[in-house]
């Protein structure tokens, strides 16, 4: 890092993601707590009642090992849980069970789309730990009088992934997070749609100056925002000749700023030691037996090779495994057409409605693509049909078949012959343009197509109209 040019931004991330197991890391309480009241998903173990003992969740370990393998980590012979001792009301045992000197994976990497092309980000380590509970501060804004605690979140399995300081911009940080999210979702270990399922701490410095840690970034979008704010803040200080303090700052999501934790973070002494209530893990053989699913990068390459679609379409389609799965179910209608429709049109419509791909029914979409492929509907008409379908899906209504919608909205493409009289009228009315066309001005044809299109209200394929007009002009050609 020392040989980076002055002023370079250096970023490393510590990413905590909740693993989507059915039960908590050390007890059988359900992890599906978000819609239930406080303290309804707790038991003696996750409440830290005296005498309770933790029991390790096999699937949580399996999920973590999947990630270790996907991130090309070295998996050591043995891993072990340790106690991290610190005192806080949301930490019911007065220590957190985590991993310390024997994590599940070390020295891995993840390739991302960097600012200057493909870039390899090194992963320092990954390990499992338990989530603490949740605190609500009560009374008087900046000066809370007391706290309220909900232990439902206590014991949810967290995977901590630590990167080396290889990121050089907030955008690269965002890309890393996005690529990681995509990878974790492909591995079926993570659901990024759940609130609070991802939390990030970032270390950021500008070469030659002190390092600052930003804690508590709790959303995907927050990472780029927090880092961008922090860089501006640090650059301004440097410009004014002030010093950058080595400190911990908190990101305030709602205001988009970071604020100093004001030195209250004294150097912690966590007094780690091996958790005596759990046995160590032997995971080397285990991880070798894990078969990974196809991951985003491989799937992207395959989409290009197998379906002959553009790399940009392939990247978009494989960014989310559910989207890629959807595409693969409709690609047989026509891979290139389907790619355009899914990646460009459908995704845009979904984003506009804040809907996810999971809510789009496959069979009607296949029917719609078939209508487009058969040219029995125009692109414009098909988009209208799609919108009706999505509105129905958004309201949890039965989605009508596209041909029904076409009929109802009278969107069917009129057959070519019907346009002949209209085309004749246009040719008769715009003789100067016809002359221009005869003299080789291509733009004249487009003008004539436009005039016919106006008369049919857009319900025609421009290419087909062009052919009709060209043949009519040829028929009436003075030389014919």
């Amino acid at each position: 890092m020392r040989d980076e040019p002055a002023g370079t931004v250096i970023i490393g991330l510590e990413i905590h993601t909740q693993l989507n197991t059915a039960s908590k890391l050390f007890c059988g309480c359900s992890t599906d707590y978000r819609t239930d009241g406080p303290n309804t998903h707790v038991c003696p173990i996750c409440m830290g009642l005296p005498g309770s003992l933790p029991r390790m969740n096999r699937r949580a370990v399996e999920f973590a090992l999947r990630v270790a393998k996907a991130l090309h980590c070295e998996v050591l012979e043995e891993a072990e849980f340790a106690r991290k001792n610190y005192f806080y009301p949301d930490l019911p045992k007065g220590f957190q069970i985590t991993m310390y000197d024997r994590p599940l994976g070390v020295q891995g990497y993840l390739d991302i789309e960097g600012d200057d092309g493909e870039k390899r980000i090194r992963i320092t380590r990954i390990h499992l730990e338990e989530d603490p509970g949740r605190l609500v501060h009560k009374g008087g804004g900046d000066r809370p009088k007391y706290s309220l605690v909900d232990y439902n979140r206590s014991g949810i399995p967290l995977l901590e992934i630590v990167t080396e300081p290889d990121l050089r911009s907030p955008r690269e940080a965002r890309r890393l997070i996005n690529t990681l999210r995509s990878t974790l979702e492909y591995l079926r270990v993570f659901d990024g749609d759940k609130e609070g399922s991802l939390r990030v701490d970032a270390n950021i410095s500008i070469t030659g100056y002190s390092r600052v840690e930003i804690k508590n970034i709790s959303s995907f979008k927050g990472v780029e925002k927090a880092l961008t704010f922090e860089i501006t803040r640090q650059r301004n200080l440097i410009r004014r000749g002030q010093t950058i303090e080595r400190e911990t700052r908190h990101f305030l999501e709602t205001r988009g700023i970071t604020t100093s934790a004001r030195g209250k973070e004294v150097e912690h002494d966590y007094r780690y030691f091996p958790e005596p209530d759990l046995r160590p893990l032997r995971v080397k053989d285990w991880v070798e037996d894990i078969d990974l699913p196809e991951l985003p990068a491989a799937r992207r390459e395959r989409f290009v090779a197998e379906y002959g679609i553009s790399i940009n379409h392939a990247r978009t389609l494989t960014g989310e495994f559910k989207l890629a799965d959807f595409y693969e179910q409709v690609a047989h209608i026509g891979p290139v057409l389907a790619a355009t429709w899914v990646a460009d049109i459908l995704l845009g419509e979904l984003n506009y409605r804040d809907m996810s791909i999971g809510s789009v029914p496959v069979p009607p979409f296949i029917d719609l693509l078939t209508l487009v492929m058969e040219r029995s509907i125009t692109d414009k008409g098909a988009v209208e049909v799609l919108r009706v379908m999505l509105d129905q899906a958004a309201h949890h209504e039965m989605v009508d078949s596209p041909s029904t919608i076409v009929g109802r909205l009278n969107l069917g493409r009129t057959s070519g012959d019907e346009f002949i009289p209209l085309a004749r009228e246009v040719i008769d009315s715009y003789q100067p343009a016809v002359e221009d066309y005869r003299r080789g001005k291509k733009g004249a044809l487009n003008f004539l197509i436009g005039q016919v299109m106006k008369k049919v209200g857009g319900k025609a394929d421009p290419r087909e109209l062009g052919k009709i007009i060209e043949s009519l002009i040829a028929e009436s050609s003075p030389g014919a």
Binding site: M47, R59, V61, Y146
Partner: protein, 89 residues
């Protein structure tokens, strides 16, 4: 050799209240105890422990949580379904 300030520091690290009188008393006692513990410096290294058991795991199955009245039943102060705690800021 442990001094008063060391005992104060340990109390702070342990986040535990201690009176001035106790600091005096503990300083004296800690010295005697830690001096006795110095024998550990003579332990030869490299002895292997006994057989260790690995990978004791449970399946990812949901078991019933406590009913709310039992979950918060031992807490002295609750507000709705939350448990009250001192402020942290």
């Amino acid at each position: 050799m442990i001094e008063r300030k060391d005992v104060e520091h340990i109390a702070e690290l342990a986040d535990i209240g201690i009176t001035g009188e106790e600091i005096e008393e503990f300083t004296h006692q800690f010295n005697a105890i830690l001096e006795y513990f110095d024998i550990l410096d003579q332990v030869p290294e490299g002895t292997e422990g006994g057989t260790v058991i690995y990978n004791v795991l449970r399946e990812d199955e949901i078991t019933p949580s406590l009913p709310l009245h039992e979950a918060i039943g031992n807490a002295h102060s609750c507000e709705e379904e939350f448990i009250r705690a001192p402020r942290v800021m």
